[in-house]
C-alpha cells in the first residue's frame, strides 16, 4: 500500500533554499563585479539556475523510491 512516508523526508526542506535565495534582491542587485561583461545582477541570477537544478536533482536522488523487492 502507498503510505505517506513517500512524501516525507527531511531532504525536502532543502527545496526552500532555491526558492528563497533568488527572491532576495540585496544579494544580486548591483552592477559590479562584472563577469565576462555581465553585471552581477545578470550573471548571479543566471547562476541561480544551477543552484535550482543542483538542489532539485539532489533531493530527487535522495528521496527516490527504491525498487520494491
Amino acid at each position: 500500500m502507498p503510505d505517506d512516508k513517500r512524501d516525507r523526508s527531511p531532504w525536502y526542506w532543502l527545496l526552500l533554499v532555491p526558492i528563497a535565495i533568488p527572491l532576495m534582491p540585496f544579494l544580486f542587485n548591483a552592477d559590479e563585479p562584472r563577469l565576462f561583461g555581465f553585471p552581477l545582477f545578470y550573471w548571479l541570477q543566471i547562476a541561480f539556475i544551477a543552484l535550482g537544478v543542483g538542489t532539485t536533482t539532489l533531493v530527487y536522488q535522495m528521496t527516490k523510491r527504491r525498487r520494491r523487492p
Binding site: 532555491p18 541570477q45 535550482g52 532539485t56
Partner: protein
C-alpha cells in the same frame, strides 16, 4: 523585397513541415481507440521523461514569452528580467505539489484541476468557478500566441490577417485530428529550432556589437538618459518589492493554469514529473538569454516596426533585431522558431480549455451520462471553437486588449490557489469559505488593476501589474504585484469564512478522495488498474 522573400521561403517551408508532423502525430504511439479524453486530451497518460520535458517546456515557454520578455527588457531593463527568478523558483516550489496532483488524478481519473476540486470539496459550484476562471485566464493566452506570429510576419513585411487565419486553420485541423499527441511531437522541432537560434544569437550578435560589456553599457547609457524612474540595468528602491512579488506570484500561478497541468497529467509516473522539475530549468537558462536580447536591441540601435496605427509595435523588436543582424536565411529560421513556438502552446491551451468545458460544464450540467466517445467529440469541437474565438479576438479587437486580458489572467488564476494547490494538502477549508475567498480575491485584484495607469502609452487603467502602495495610504513609492496582494486577501477571507461557516454549522461537502490517493504511483493498486476506457 528580395531579402524578405528568402526569409519567407524558409519560414513557410519549416512551418509546413511541422504541420505535416501534426497530422501524422495521430499515428504516433497509436492507441486502439483515440475516442476518449484520456487519449485525445492527455495522449494516453503515458508520456515518459523526454516527451514530457519537450511538451511541458514547449507549453510554458511560449512564442509570446520569447517576444514579450525581451521587449519588456528593451523598454524597462532589469524589471523585465523577473522572468528568470520566476522560472528558477517555480520548480522546487511545485516539486511535491505536482506529484500529489498526479497521484490523486490518476487514482480518480481527473482530467482538469476543476475535476479535482469537485471531488475534494464536494461542491459543483466551486468546481464551476474554478473551471470558468481557468477558461477566462487561458483564452487571452491563446490569442497572444497569435500576437507572437503577427510580430514575425509584420517584420517580414506581411500585413493583413489572411496568413494568421491560414496558420490557425491548419493548427485547428491537426489538433482536432491528433489531440495532445500533435503538440507533443511538434515540440521536439520547436525546441530544437529555438535552442539553435538563441545560442547562435547570444554568441554572434554580441560579437558584432563589441562584446557583452558594451551591450550592457549601451543599455545603461540609454536608461540613464531617460527621465522614467523605474528603468535601469539594476533595480531601484521602488521596484524591488514588485520584482520579487511578481516573480514569486507568477511562479505560484504557473501550474494553476489548466494547460500546464495537462502536460503534467499526461506523464506516466511520479518519477517523470520529479525528474522534469530538475531538468526544466534548462529552458530558464534559455529564457534568461532571450531576455538579454532586449539589451542587444538597444546596443544595436534597433527600431521596432511601426504598426498600422502609426505607433511603433514594441513586440516586433526582437524579430527586427534578427532581421538587422542575421543573414536572411537564418532570420527565416529564427522566425520559424517563433512561429512554431506559438503553435505548440496554442494547441495545448486549446485542448486544456476544451477539456475544462467538457468535464466541468458539459458533463456536469448538460449531459450527465456522457460516454467517453461523446466527451472526446465535444472536446474536439470546443477546441475548434476556442481557436476561432482567439482569431476573432485578434481580428476584431485591439491586440492591446488581449495583452490586458492576459495580465488580468495571471491575477485571476492565482485566486484558484487555495482550492487547487492548498486543497492538495488540506481539507480544512470549508467550500463556502473558498468561494467567499475567491470572490474577495477577484474583487481586490480587479480593483487594483483598474487603478494602475501606464504613463508610457497614456492608459489610465489596466496599465500594468505594479500596484503602488501609496494607493493604500502608505507614504512610499514602492509597488507590489497586484496578484500577490489579491491572493493575500483571498486567503484571509477564505480562513475567516471557513471559521464562520463552521461556527454556524453550515453543511460542508463530502471529500471523495482518500489520504493514500495522494501518494499512489504507477504500479500501485488502483493506479495500475486505472481503466482508461471508463473514466470515473
Amino acid at each position: 523585397m528580395n531579402a524578405n522573400v528568402t526569409e519567407l521561403v524558409v519560414f513557410a517551408a519549416l512551418f509546413l513541415a511541422v504541420s505535416v508532423m501534426g497530422f501524422v502525430a495521430a499515428r504516433w504511439r497509436r492507441p486502439e481507440n483515440i475516442e476518449s479524453l484520456h487519449e485525445w486530451g492527455l495522449g494516453g497518460r503515458n508520456f515518459g521523461s523526454w516527451i514530457t520535458w519537450f511538451l511541458v517546456g514547449g507549453d510554458l515557454y511560449t512564442a509570446y514569452t520569447f517576444v514579450a520578455v525581451p521587449a519588456l527588457v528593451f523598454g524597462a531593463g532589469a524589471l523585465g528580467f523577473y522572468a528568470l527568478p520566476y522560472t528558477v523558483v517555480v520548480y522546487p516550489l511545485v516539486f511535491l505539489v505536482l506529484a500529489r496532483m498526479w497521484s490523486v488524478s490518476h487514482v480518480h481519473g481527473f482530467v482538469t484541476p476543476a475535476d479535482f476540486v469537485r471531488a475534494r470539496f464536494g461542491s459543483p459550484t466551486l468546481a464551476l468557478i474554478i473551471a470558468i476562471t481557468g477558461l477566462v485566464a487561458t483564452m487571452p493566452y491563446i490569442a497572444l500566441q497569435l500576437v507572437g506570429i503577427e510580430a514575425v510576419l509584420k517584420t517580414m513585411g506581411i500585413t493583413g490577417h489572411l496568413p494568421i487565419i491560414i496558420a490557425f486553420a491548419i493548427l485547428a485541423a491537426y489538433t482536432y485530428q491528433s489531440g495532445l499527441r500533435a503538440p507533443a511531437l511538434i515540440a521536439f522541432v520547436k525546441d530544437t529550432l529555438i535552442y539553435i537560434v538563441i545560442l547562435v544569437a547570444v554568441i554572434y550578435i554580441p560579437a558584432k556589437l563589441g562584446g557583452w560589456g558594451s551591450v550592457f553599457d549601451a543599455a545603461k547609457a540609454k536608461f540613464d538618459a531617460t527621465p522614467a524612474p523605474g528603468d535601469g540595468i539594476t533595480l531601484n528602491a521602488g521596484n524591488q518589492l514588485q520584482y520579487v512579488t511578481l516573480a514569486f506570484g507568477s511562479a505560484l500561478a504557473l501550474f494553476l493554469y489548466p494547460h500546464s497541468l495537462t502536460g503534467v497529467l499526461a506523464s506516466k509516473n511520479r518519477g517523470v514529473i520529479k525528474r522534469n522539475m530538475a531538468a526544466l530549468p534548462a529552458y530558464s537558462f534559455l529564457l534568461g538569454l532571450i531576455a538579454l536580447l532586449g539589451f542587444m536591441a538597444i546596443a544595436a540601435g534597433t527600431k521596432p516596426v511601426v504598426g498600422a496605427n502609426g505607433k511603433p509595435d514594441t513586440n516586433t523588436i526582437i524579430p527586427a533585431l534578427f532581421d538587422q543582424m542575421f543573414p536572411d536565411w537564418f532570420a527565416g529560421v529564427a522566425y520559424a522558431a517563433v512561429g512554431i513556438g506559438a503553435l505548440v502552446p496554442a494547441a495545448i491551451m486549446s485542448i486544456a480549455a476544451a477539456n475544462l468545458f467538457t468535464r466541468n460544464i458539459y458533463r456536469e450540467y448538460l449531459n450527465r451520462d456522457a460516454t467517453d466517445a461523446q466527451e472526446a467529440k465535444v472536446s474536439k469541437i470546443v477546441s475548434l471553437v476556442v481557436k476561432v474565438g482567439a482569431v476573432l479576438c485578434i481580428l476584431l479587437l485591439d491586440p492591446q486588449f488581449s495583452i490586458d486580458l492576459q495580465l488580468i489572467g495571471g491575477v485571476i488564476i492565482l485566486q484558484t490557489l487555495p482550492s487547487v494547490a492548498l486543497g492538495l494538502y488540506t481539507r480544512w477549508f470549508h467550500r463556502g469559505g473558498l468561494i467567499a475567498g475567491w470572490v474577495a480575491g477577484m474583487g481586490a485584484g480587479m480593483w487594483m488593476l483598474y487603478l494602475i495607469p501606464n504613463p508610457a502609452n497614456g492608459k489610465q487603467h489596466f496599465g500594468g501589474s505594479a500596484f503602488g502602495l501609496s494607493n493604500l495610504g502608505l507614504d512610499t513609492k514602492m509597488t507590489i504585484y497586484a496578484g500577490f496582494l489579491a491572493l493575500a486577501v483571498n486567503l484571509v477571507v477564505a480562513v475567516l469564512g471557513t471559521l464562520a461557516f463552521r461556527a454556524f454549522k453550515v453543511a460542508d461537502g463530502e471529500d471523495a478522495t482518500a489520504r493514500e490517493d495522494y501518494f499512489a504511483d504507477e504500479g500501485d493498486p488502483g493506479v495500475k488498474d486505472l481503466d482508461l476506457a471508463s473514466s470515473s
